[in-house]
């Protein structure tokens, strides 16, 4: 065991050695270590290079506040960038590497940036790299991009799984330190649903790093019994390794649970890697603790400079004392407790305290330099820290005094006070007050839409006894708001340290004016921003906190500025001659710490990412070799190639078969809405452009729907089933939109109308049987009289088909004799197979959406969304006949608007290319005059275009300016390659113009 691992103490298991590899070198740690504690136990401080200057950086903290110790974990498919070494639990075989350095973290070429740091200050990019113009993208940006970024994205697919959990509770307690546990113990008695959510692997919070005496016993024992009590309480859910990362409105908490992060990724496990909890809580207790703040002093970013409380936590929690000769640098009392822990762990300690006067009792155990500060750090990559320079500091804090001295050391442990972890409080729209005595922002206690209470250190309360009393009291009073009366259970603590005094000194002066000379005073580590950068920001007018943040990148790293924000603000306040609260605070945005995309994704992935909708006949199509097309969320057969047929050949064959004999389309995907109620007819009159007043029972009618602007957005056939009962069909892709549209009008405009709309799309299987042989075929299978007299075009009959109850609609989208057989969805496959068996003698074919498109285009039937684009009125489509004479209908009034009623709008026409073999690409535009090169004046475009086997040539439809008045004219379409294709404007109907085939 190394010199840094203590012989005893801590929560690690010295008998279970864990082997791991860092930067290619093998080390040993113990079970219970984090990667950071194990590295420190091995004397490794240098773990990364900074973003901009590539300065060597080391482990500073012991939690999510650490700005530096982020590593690339594992290799191959398991590799994960930017993993916090301070959080990552050690497991056997763990492999990690430093990021953002080459060839190695010790010898990093990028460190050349550091030599240029004099130029490379905040705002540097904006001022330069502008000339020559092309060089920004071709040269400068390329170099900058290559140097950017920290970790690497895996190249292989993620083998792991993620999932979501939903939970509801009466009281969610975030953070299981002494405050949170006290709250939970009180709340547990209420019988209400309580959740206690802790980020760390075990309960305890600050007690793990700084143990105390609670209820007369060492806090470890108390923790164990509290845990047992909470585990036993059925109404309490305790989550560990779970971080509440986001606090959204109406007490909606998003928490991520690191389920298997502590295991080797190769461990076989059925568990997901992470679980995202979505929790709706009636009330929330925020017991998220506080984060120690660093000092801004010369070269304060050197590896081996750590937070005092973190050094104490490494000693007490992990049994590691990361230095042997330690200088504790502080402006407040709390660091003396850390110093004592270091001394107890066998280190020699010298305290440098910027306060001129320090309580005698505190000083008693240590050599203390009062009224002094660290003014320089002797550090090298090879030897680490060897000493620090110390000078007396003037009373106003602006300069150093006297000759100074040098203190040999291998570690600096620092403290500049504490900042309550108010992130969730501010995410929940809470405001902050500045506590001028303790130099920190504290929650101001009121909340807007998110009832919560901050307690303990998160509320700026630091004494152990006070913290627990506050936690218990908050649980009691929040539960009282839910009309539950519980007694506050307040554990008694032996310790209740007063906060003591603190000196406000935001920048520690050094031998040169700050910002001059070689030494740097960092306030923001990850993004390499210094006090001098804040001053520069001020000088250049970036005074507001948001400008400061953006200009210097303060708080914009993966650590979100947990150590840097307040120092940045305070330095700005000093520069502007204002107090810290006058400068203000930037809002924290979720998540508290970075949240894995996969966890947010959850199980919605691959097959479950908008699950594909399949009709009841899907398997029939698969067996017939269909190629499918995505239409909305549906899989629809696109075409059915036979023996290696091309798409073109298959479609041509299908189209011919339909018109010559019989073909069947699976039309089940069309939207179907059942509309009922005594105002149903009145409603249809508003919804469609045409008139529905007289549609008789058993009759069908085609209708167009337009939006408020009078523009067509959907169409379909609706059938009267009974006096107040209709069956509406919509386009496949538009079904949900129509349903929403219906609900919107019913709920917002006509809530008093009695209309019930129910989506029945999935209740019916629909076989559209088309072609001259369809009557003969169907007659064999049904008891319905199919004669034209008994069952005319545009009507519906009920009966049996293949012995199954059915509604048969005589409507057609091909212009052929057509029966659309609707059967309850569960019979779809059976009926389909029966129809095909009976149809064999007619050479029946299944046909797909492509043939459907061709067939309807031959007849000039539009497809809403293809031949229309939300800018076409029914008149533009040449469908004046469908505009009923009635008082009102949605969108009607808009037709009288000046632009909508003007002549010369784009109108739907047919198009025939001069060369019948040329199929115009859909989307191609026509121009008023072909020029050698664009720009050219466009007059319209092709919406539908096919090779029609039934017409023996290509056919197309398009929207052309004033098209209806230009019949017979030839216009030019220009392709992307510059060639132009002439085509004649014709009526958009190419087959059976009289429309006899379907009516017969």
């Amino acid at each position: 065991m190394s010199q840094y691992r203590l012989k005893q103490g801590g929560r690690i298991d010295r008998n279970k050695s864990v082997s791991f590899v860092f930067n290619g070198k093998r080390y040993q740690g113990c079970e219970g270590d984090t990667l950071a504690s194990a590295l420190l136990a091995n004397g490794v401080h240098l773990v990364s290079r900074s973003f901009k200057y590539h300065r060597p950086r080391g482990i500073m903290g012991h939690g999510w506040e650490d700005p530096n110790a982020q590593i690339q974990l594992e290799k191959g498919a398991f590799t994960t960038p930017n993993v916090f070494a301070t959080i990552q639990e050690l497991y056997n075989g763990l492999e990690a590497e430093s990021q953002n350095c080459w060839p190695s973290v010790e010898k990093d070429i990028g460190a050349i940036n550091s030599m240029l740091s004099r130029f490379y200050v905040a705002g540097f990019y904006y001022k330069t790299f502008k000339w020559p113009r092309a060089a920004w993208e071709t040269l400068y940006e390329k170099v900058i991009r290559r140097a950017a970024g920290m970790g690497k994205v895996p190249e292989l697919p993620d083998p792991h799984r993620y999932e979501h959990m939903h939970a509801y509770c009466d009281l969610a307690i975030v953070g299981a330190g002494p405050a949170g546990i006290a709250a939970a113990l009180t709340a547990a008695k209420s019988g209400k649903r309580i959740m206690l959510i802790e980020d760390a692997p075990e309960l305890g919070g600050s007690l793990l790093g700084e143990p105390g005496t609670i209820d007369g016993a060492p806090s470890d024992q108390w923790l164990a019994s509290a845990k047992a009590e909470l585990d036993a309480a059925e109404n309490v859910t305790v989550l560990t390794r779970t971080q509440v990362a986001g606090y959204y409105d109406y007490n909606y908490l998003v928490a991520s649970e690191r389920v298997t992060h502590h295991l080797s990724p190769n461990t076989p496990s059925k568990a997901p890697r992470e679980r995202l909890w979505k929790i709706r809580a009636e009330r929330v207790v925020l017991a998220t603790g506080a984060i120690e703040r660093p000092m801004v002093f010369a070269d304060n970013d050197r590896p081996g400079i750590m937070m005092a409380s973190s050094v104490m936590a490494y000693i007490n929690h992990y049994g590691v004392c990361p230095g042997q000769k330690i200088v504790v640098f502080t402006n407040n009392d709390s660091a003396y407790r850390a110093a004592a822990a270091m001394q107890d762990a066998g280190a020699s300690v010298v305290v440098v305290d910027v306060r001129a006067e320090v309580d005698e009792a505190l000083k008693a155990k240590f050599e203390v330099h009062c009224g002094a500060g660290i003014t320089g750090v002797d550090y090298s990559v090879k030897n680490g820290i060897r000493s620090v320079d110390v000078h007396a500091i003037s009373a106003d804090g602006s300069t150093i005094e006297g000759p100074g001295s040098t203190i040999e050391c291998d570690l600096v442990a620092q403290s500049a006070g504490w900042q309550p972890t108010v992130h969730l409080h501010t995410q929940a729209r809470g405001k902050l007050n500045w506590d001028a005595d303790r130099l920190c922002f504290v929650p101001n206690g009121t909340h807007v839409v998110n009832p919560n209470t901050s307690v303990g250190a998160a509320n700026g309360t630091f004494g152990l006894a006070d913290v627990m009393a506050e936690g218990a009291a908050a649980a009691k009073s929040l539960l009282a708001e839910l009309s539950v009366d519980v007694e506050a259970v307040v554990p008694s603590a032996a310790e209740n340290h007063a906060f003591g005094s603190i000196r406000e000194l935001w920048i520690v002066p050094t031998t040169h004016p700050v910002g001059e000379g070689k030494k740097k005073h960092f306030h923001e580590y990850q993004n390499d921003a210094t006090a001098a950068d804040v001053w520069l920001a001020k000088r250049e007018g970036f005074e507001s906190v948001e400008h400061l943040k953006r200009y210097t990148n303060t708080g914009r790293g993966t650590d979100q500025g947990k150590l840097s924000n307040v120092n940045g603000l305070a330095i700005m306040a000093g520069a502007r001659g204002l107090t810290v609260p006058e400068v203000g605070f930037t809002t924290f945005r979720p998540p508290y710490t970075p949240l894995t995309f996969g966890a947010v994704m959850g199980q919605t992935n691959d097959d479950t990412f908008t699950p594909a909708r399949q009709t009841a006949m899907h398997q029939c199509h698969v067996e017939r070799g269909a190629v499918f097309e995505d239409v909305g969320d549906w899989k629809r057969p696109w075409y059915f190639p036979k023996h290696g047929e091309s798409m073109h050949d298959a479609v041509q064959r299908e189209c011919l078969a339909v018109r010559q004999s019989v073909g069947v389309l699976d039309a089940s995907t069309l939207g179907k809405i059942d509309i009922k109620g005594k105002d149903a007819r009145k409603f249809l009159n508003m919804l469609y452009t045409n008139n529905w007043s007289k549609l008789g029972e058993g009759r069908c009618r085609y209708g167009l729907m337009v939006n408020e602007h009078g523009m067509v957005f959907d169409d379909g056939v609706t059938t009267c089933i009974g006096e107040d009962h209709f069956h509406m069909t919509t386009t496949t892709g538009g079904a949900a939109r129509v349903m929403t549209w219906i609900e919107e009008w019913l709920q917002t405009e006509w809530p008093d109308w009695e209309v019930y709309a129910t989506s029945v799309t999935e209740q019916w299987s629909v076989l559209s049987i088309n072609g001259p042989k369809s009557r003969e075929l169907l007659a064999e299978l049904t008891d319905i009289d199919l004669s034209s007299e008994a069952f005319p075009f545009m009507s519906m009959r009920e009966g049996n088909v293949c012995g199954v109850p059915a509604r048969v609609y005589r409507i057609s989208f091909t212009g052929e004799l057509t029966y659309e057989v609707n059967v309850p969805a569960r019979y779809g496959r059976y009926v389909w197979e029966q129809v095909f068996k009976a149809g064999e003698k007619y050479d029946i074919v299944p046909y797909g959406t492509e043939a459907m498109h061709v067939l309807r285009a031959e007849k000039g039937f539009i497809i809403a969304g293809q031949d229309t684009d939300g800018t076409m009125t029914p008149m533009d489509l040449g469908m004046d006949w469908i505009v009923g004479k009635k008082e009102d209908a949605i969108g009607r009034r808009s037709w009288s608007r000046s632009d909508t009623s003007r002549a010369g709008r784009k109108q739907l026409v047919g198009l025939l290319t001069q060369d019948p073999n040329v199929v115009l690409p859909e989307g191609t535009h026509a121009v008023s005059r072909v020029l050698p090169a664009p720009p050219m004046d466009m007059i319209g475009h092709v919406t539908s275009s096919y090779m029609s086997p039934n017409c023996g040539r290509s056919i197309a439809m398009g929207l052309i300016k004033d098209g209806l008045n230009r019949m017979g004219q030839t216009i030019d379409f220009v392709l992307m390659d510059g060639t132009s294709v002439p085509a004649k404007i014709v009526k958009p109907i190419f087959f059976d113009e009289a429309g006899e085939r379907g009516r017969d």
Binding site: P81, N82, F119, V121, Y125, Y126, K127, T128, K130, R133, W136, E137, E141, R145, R146, A148, G149, V153, P154, P157, D158, H160, D249, G515, R539, E540, F542, S544, E546, H547, R550, R556, T558, R589, P591, P594, T596, F597, G598, V600, M601, T604, F609, D630, V631, H709, M711, D869, G870, T871, R897, S898, D899, T900, G923, H925, P934, M938, H941, M976
Partner: protein, 414 residues
Amino acid sequence: MAHFSVFSLVRNALNYHKDWPRQWRSPEPKSHYDVIIVGGGAHGLATAYYLATECGITNVAVLERAWIGGGNSGRNTTIVRSNYLWDESAALYDHSVKLWEGLSQELNYNVMFSQRGLLHLAHSVHDMQEIGRRGSAIHLNGIDSEFVTPEKVKEMVPFINLNCRYPVMGALLQRRGGTALHDAVVWGYARGADAAGVDIIQNCEVTGFKIEDNTVVGVETSRGDIMANKVGVVAAGHSSVMAEMAGFRMPLESFPLQALVSEPLKPLVDNVIMSNGVHAYISQSDKGELVIGASSDAYTSYSQRGGFNVIEDTLQAICELYPVFKRVKMMRQWAGIVDVTVDRSPIITKTPVNNLYFNCGWGTGGFKATPGSGNVFAHSIARGEMHPVAEPFSMFRFHSGALIDEGAAAAVAH
């Protein structure tokens, strides 16, 4: 104004950067201006810049409620493109792209405009028809557009999952599309406008208009009344509120629109890739963050916060299209309030009140238009007649029905 160059940088470095002046002044408001611009976003600042540099009107103030660039200008995903369907849009957005192309030099401020190429993926036959039509229209409008095959997409974006739930069938590529750095654009215009004499006044909220004889004569602000010959309002999400103050209605709805960035990663995404089919769009910043746009919330709101469900939908789409990002982490998420018109095109307009002009309705996609919007708005205000490129975007199109419906055709418009 201090000129920015390598030389000035070196010179200043020698003096530890102590001589850099403010990039824009912080003046007290005067009692009267020729033109007041309400709203210190990029569009408002660009308008002031062009008023002062191209239209000869330098007695101009920009009044900003909080700090400049704190609205959508500082919250967007910085995508720049001009591959819009309709002629009117193409003219406006390409006017912008052309100005972007020389902007860093003109402003003497590196706005990091980077034409890294923008791909629009098509995931269905319907999408293919949509890009087919749009690509043809863009091409004939004289703007670069190319169709690319899925193979080519894979070459440009090797980590894409072409065979995702809605397989990639093709894409439309605009090579001149790309990104710029939003903050730099705001600051660059502010600095340029200031140098040309414009007063940029922050922490100055406009609370009302002074209107006499149906003519605007000034504004009421949190720092007192300020008179003006003409007022241009460029207040994005708050435009309809401003219109109400002036006594008329502006056909806008305000929604939260969200975006997020990942932790910084080594460069991987070279282009801007947009997909309407699975609703995901992504680029990578020069800092290495993946910049990802989400959709707007379903409900109108003025709070700059959105629902987490929108973030879920977005990252589900991202992981479906780019499975390699599953282990990557989201670092920050936020929302801006976007002012959405019914046809998803902006409003640049005279109003029922004389000398009061509005420039709004940019919704989810106005960053790209910043230079062009400011430019044509400035000329319109200066002349008292709408610039021909701005003319079709009048608010009165909602009376006539002459909509410029980018939404109906392409569904999404970032």
